[in-house]
């Protein structure tokens, strides 16, 4: 059986059947968000690879590609890596955390409002 027709480069990102819903008023914003998220993923992948290399160097003093591919973190190591990923995502998505906090605080004065207030003589 030939897999010539099964080119992963072409087929991995295939669109699912059914018209895609768009959530932002401007679809281009959503396109940029999708690309950003994909990059976010690839940075996470690179970081996990670096972490693996560091741990292999600490353990063995050398690193081979085979050792990277077969590396199995123990529970503590896996937890450390998982925790890093949580920090990382929280850093990347900070603006949404702040959006939530803004909702919780309700109406707030802006610095410009306060500047006007502080500039008043009486």
């Amino acid at each position: 059986m030939s897999t010539d027709t099964l080119d992963p480069l072409k087929l991995a990102g295939s669109k699912a059947k059914g018209k895609r819903p768009w959530f932002f008023e401007n679809p281009d914003t959503e396109r940029v968000m999708n690309i950003t998220l994909a990059l976010m993923q690839e940075v996470a992948v690179m970081r996990e690879r670096m972490d693996t290399i560091e741990r292999l160097l600490e353990r063995d003093g050398v690193v081979t590609r085979e050792a990277i591919e077969t590396f199995e973190p123990d529970k503590t190591q896996a937890d450390e890596r998982g925790y890093w990923m949580q920090e990382y995502i929280a850093r990347c998505l900070r603006i949404l955390q702040q959006d939530r906090e803004a909702i919780a605080r309700g109406k707030e004065a802006s610095s410009e409002d306060v500047a006007d207030e502080f500039a008043k003589v009486d």
Partner: protein, 408 residues
């Protein structure tokens, strides 16, 4: 901790996130995964967790603080709530990221399986060729419910073969579900099936099924634990998707589970396949929402026809919408229906299942109601095991059971 130490952070690390993907259960036809492919799944599991625990609560907060107060008359339907939600940036961002994460997960899993398609397809062919436990129908016509749209954004849905004998679709489903659920279904994604088997053993201790039918079985991950719990029973798994069944048999055999036969069929009409009263147990797990308003009553009638007197039917699903469920929660639970290609999810969840079961011929007194939560290894998945209060509307690894015991 001293400043000189690498990576200073509070000790000990109170980590309660998804487990590393490397703990996933690998059976004989599981796709190989490279270091970076695993890292990609790790990221996706963490993104899903972040979205459900850190972003989604913001939608409820926005609804309370600025969406509902603007409404002039009280909401009377969940669709009104959803239409208003779609105008709010918090809902838009959560939804856009949730959809993007789902699409990215499909891409990640498809990459893994397509790059080794030839080897995977060959391995499955070797395990299933000439095995009488795989019964496919080359003339089978996909029902509209599986063909209209690719379910949960999975390109090709459950039935597409890119080349003859192609099983990259189910292999992708199998490999990626661990990332989608953050491992909440356990190593072999069998936590739901284990829970159902235990529920039956606990609640119906006198029930000793000899012949079990799983409808809408997919690749069989929900029925294998039942086959294992009742090793002397003959188990038949029916699905519309040939690749799922082919992969399902190979997967089961490689796990040493030999009592399951995989048959292609339309579960709304199995008259040519099985005689009346030929099963002790008919099971569906997270399947009803993949059908349609037209076919669901036919499926219920078929289960009634197929059951022996004293036999049971059980449907495992996410909870039905009821008057007691707030419209906001209903609207959130509808998300997968409108934005994750699960079109019947919305109507299915408003159906009065009890009434439909009675209409199919089961008596009111014979109806069964219960609840199950995924049973997983607490060493690996501490959070899933203790049934957290965190809700992930429609995705939580806890389900309702609706069924009946046929009188006689």
């Amino acid at each position: 901790m001293a400043d000189t130490e690498r990576d200073p952070r509070p000790e000990p690390i109170a980590y309660d996130g998804p487990p590393d993907y490397r703990v996933v259960g690998r059976h004989g036809v599981y796709p190989e995964t490279s270091h970076d492919e695993i890292a990609r799944f790790n990221f996706l599991a963490q993104m899903n967790r972040h979205l459900s625990t850190k972003v989604m609560p913001g939608v409820a907060e926005a609804f309370e603080a600025r969406i509902e107060p603007k409404r002039k008359t009280p909401y009377t339907t969940r669709h009104q709530v959803r239409k208003d939600l779609t105008k709010d940036p918090m809902f838009q961002w959560w939804s856009a990221m949730r959809r993007a994460t789902m699409e990215t997960r499909q891409q990640a899993g498809r990459w893994v399986t397509l790059r080794q398609a030839e080897a995977l397809n060959e391995k499955v062919r070797e395990l299933t060729e000439d095995d009488p436990r795989l019964v496919l129908d080359p003339d089978f016509k996909q029902p509209r419910s599986t063909d209209a749209i690719d379910h949960h954004c999975m390109p090709g849905s459950y039935h597409t073969e890119l080349v003859p004998g192609d099983i990259t679709g189910p292999a992708n489903y199998d490999a990626g579900i661990f990332a989608t659920t953050g491992g909440m279904l356990g190593r072999f994604n069998d936590g739901g099936g284990i829970a159902v088997a235990q529920w039956v053993q606990q609640n119906l201790p006198d029930f000793k099924p000899k012949r079990i039918l799983d409808i809408g079985a997919g690749l069989g991950h929900n029925v294998l634990p039942i086959a294992q719990a009742f090793p002397d029973a003959e188990v038949i798994a029916v699905d519309a998707g040939a690749p799922m069944l082919r992969y399902g048999l190979a997967r089961a055999k490689s796990m040493g589970i030999e009592n399951v036969t995989f048959i292609q069929g339309d579960v709304s009409n199995l008259k040519d396949m099985f005689e009346d009263e030929s099963f002790d147990w008919v099971q569906s797990t997270m399947f009803l929402h993949e059908t349609s308003y037209k076919t669901m009553p036919m499926i219920f009638a078929e289960t009634q026809r197929l059951l022996k007197p004293g036999g049971i039917v059980l449907h495992v699903e996410q909870p039905q919408y009821s008057d007691e469920m707030p419209l906001f929660e209903q609207a959130m639970r509808d998300w997968d229906a409108f934005y994750n290609n699960e079109p019947f999810w919305t109507k299915m969840h408003e159906v009065d299942l009890d009434a439909w079961m009675e209409k199919a011929g089961f008596s009111k007194d014979s109806l069964i109601h219960g609840g199950v939560a995924a049973v997983v290894d607490p060493e690996v998945f501490p959070e899933a095991a203790e049934d957290t209060e965190q809700e992930d509307y429609g995705r939580k690894a806890a389900w309702h059971v609706v069924g009946a015991r046929k009188e006689g």
